[in-house]
Amino acid sequence: MIKFSEQKLKEIEQIISHYPEGKQKSALLPVLHIAQQEFGGWLSVETMDYVATVLNLLPIEVYEVATFYSMYNLKPVGRYIFEVCQTGPCITKGSDNIIKYIEEKLGIKPGETTADGLFTLKTVECLGACGYAPMMQLGKSYREHLTKEKVNAIIEECRMNAEKNN
């Protein structure tokens, strides 16, 4: 059985208070973000059902939403997700080559996760960073003006962080 920590439950209370009385459904998107972060980086049926009880919603209300938005992962993912933008403006600055390079470096295709469970590669659509292309999202941060050297450094950085936190 999964459960939010006391601290997270307080945070969720706080979020619910942002909306008028009886409109706690509005808290669903932010709470799903927290759930994904807390319970392994993706939303299992168990997690979604739990969120439904926390917000007093029907499970279907949660499934509907979780399947609509691209930031929710419905399958297990690696510890670090490289979400590389592949839209027009990024193409003008060589995103095709960056994606190819990451594929080679990690030995995976978009949508796949490395065997050690560390990295997932995803191609995504415009992230609002077109002037700083090519770019990718990594967790809460954007990595911009990507080059092969920068990609190498980011991979190293993730590996080191993973070791430190093990």
Partner: protein, 450 residues
């Protein structure tokens, strides 16, 4: 140097933080409206300014506010649209990241004008770090008495909350945004009723773009009449343009809407010209949804007039030979860029972002993507070009929200202006995998003359 009203203080060290922002005149507009103006006075001032929505559609902001229904005992809401997901557009992000208090200040003034006691900023979920910046700015404004109950003793209460989305371009469409804010899928609503009558939780609601709401601050401080003098005609004031693609200086620029496209593209104050000594091939001047223009129609209109960075001039010639200012996402393509690939990538984008409610959009974007994929990857047939034309024509105007049109227009414009490049791809499938078509007759007239 051109006059700046939004980014004038951007160079000041620490302007992101309350103390510095306040020391440099921040929150004066809140004092002014709460102490000396009625909510209707504020709306009148915004009307006078000629401000048009900066989210893409360019609808007059003061007019929108005046449509807001005001039934007694029903709350009204102001919602700030910070979903910023249109390819080529990254201006709101810049403003929120580097001068967040300008948006908070604009939100307080606009909340007062519209009578919103609970105001939401709906921000795209990927901008996680900006959520934190905004929340900090809101906390600072709270602690200093600019938010909360009875602000400055005026009797006006206001709270602002940041609401993150979760990855969906369609949630930038205002009714989809409201659905999403209510914790649902981002399916656009059928209009009418319009949000001004039935919006968030069924209550009267105004949705405005980040830049629009920030611009209310200089309008209040200088007065609507003064603001209206900047720019040309109905393109009043300054506009943030996010410039990207093959230029020397990609970035976010504030322009007065009275400069030419040529100045914006080539002067060192802005884009600084095409990068790497290449020549200009094409430009999408207002975000991925607006028609692409070949170089020969970008700097001059079909009538031979200088094209200006205004709503009217960029759309001069209609869709035959013009485009739109849109969201201000200015994407520049040099001679090495492939129009087929770009068009395919945009089609794929809209396919991915279609909410799926209307079949012309859901099926049409799928077909556009499939056909363009075939052409791009060497499997296209000559009749595919007419098929594309037919499919895009069947989407346009037949859908609940404008995303369908936004998916159709870029395809139509690419075929209209670059048909020969599509044909070349189809007749030379192998060569097209190895090299790009180049410029053909779309040479950059400006550079060619040098």
């Amino acid at each position: 140097m051109a006059r700046k009203l939004l980014l004038d203080k951007i160079g000041i060290e620490g302007i992101r933080y309350y103390d510095v922002y306040r020391k440099n005149g921040g929150y004066a507009s809140v004092e002014k409206v709460l102490k000396t103006m009625s909510p209707d006075d504020v709306t009148k001032e915004v009307k006078k300014s000629g401000l048009r929505g900066r989210g893409g559609a360019g609808f007059p902001t003061g007019l929108k506010w005046s449509f807001l229904a005001k039934p007694a005992g029903v709350p009204r809401y102001l919602v700030c649209n910070a979903d910023e997901s249109e390819p080529g557009t990254f201006k709101d992000r810049f403003l929120m990241e580097f001068i967040p208090h300008l948006l908070i200040e604009g939100l307080i003034v606009s909340s007062y004008a519209t009578g919103s006691n609970r105001t939401y900023i709906y921000i795209r979920g990927e901008f996680g770090w900006i959520v934190e910046i905004l929340e900090q700015a809101i906390a600072e404004a709270n602690n200093n008495g600019w938010l909360g109950k009875n602000i400055l003793g005026s009797g006006f209460d206001c709270e602002i909350f940041v609401h993150p989305g979760a990855g969906a371009y369609i949630c930038g469409e205002e009714t989809a945004l409201l659905e999403s804010l209510e914790g649902k899928r981002g399916n656009p609503r059928i209009k009418p009723p319009f949000p001004a009558v039935k919006g968030l939780y069924g209550c009267p609601t105004v949705v405005n773009n980040v830049e629009t709401l920030a611009t209310v601050v200089p309008i209040i401080s200088m007065g609507g009449d003064e603001y209206a003098k900047i720019g040309i005609g109905k393109s009043a004031g300054t506009k943030l343009i996010s410039a990207c693609g093959n230029i020397n200086k990609p970035g976010v620029y504030e322009i007065e809407m009275n400069i030419s496209v040529e100045e914006f593209l080539y002067s060192d104050e802005y884009c600084g010209g095409i990068a790497n000594g290449k020549r200009l091939k094409a430009c999408v001047p207002g975000g991925s949804s607006v028609p692409i223009l070949p170089a020969n129609l970008l700097l001059k209109t079909a009538k031979g007039e200088t094209r200006m960075m205004t709503y009217e001039s960029l759309s001069d010639g209609g869709f035959q030979t013009g485009s739109m200012l849109g969201s201000g996402g200015f994407i520049v393509y040099d001679e090495d860029q492939c129009i087929v690939r770009n068009t395919y990538s945009f089609a794929r984008f809209y396919r991915h972002e279609s909410c799926g409610q209307c079949s012309p959009c859901r099926e049409g974007t799928l077909w556009l993507t499939k056909i363009l994929y075939d052409i791009e990857y060497g499997k296209g047939k000559m009749k595919d070009i007419d098929l594309l034309w037919h499919v895009q024509g069947n989407i346009e105007g037949n859908t609940i929200c404008p995303l369908g049109d936004a998916a159709a227009w870029p395809v139509a414009a690419a075929i209209r202006h670059f048909r020969d490049e599509f044909e070349w791809h189809i007749t030379n499938p192998e060569e097209a995998q190895r090299r790009n078509y180049g410029l053909a007759h779309y040479a950059d007239t400006l550079q060619a003359e040098v």
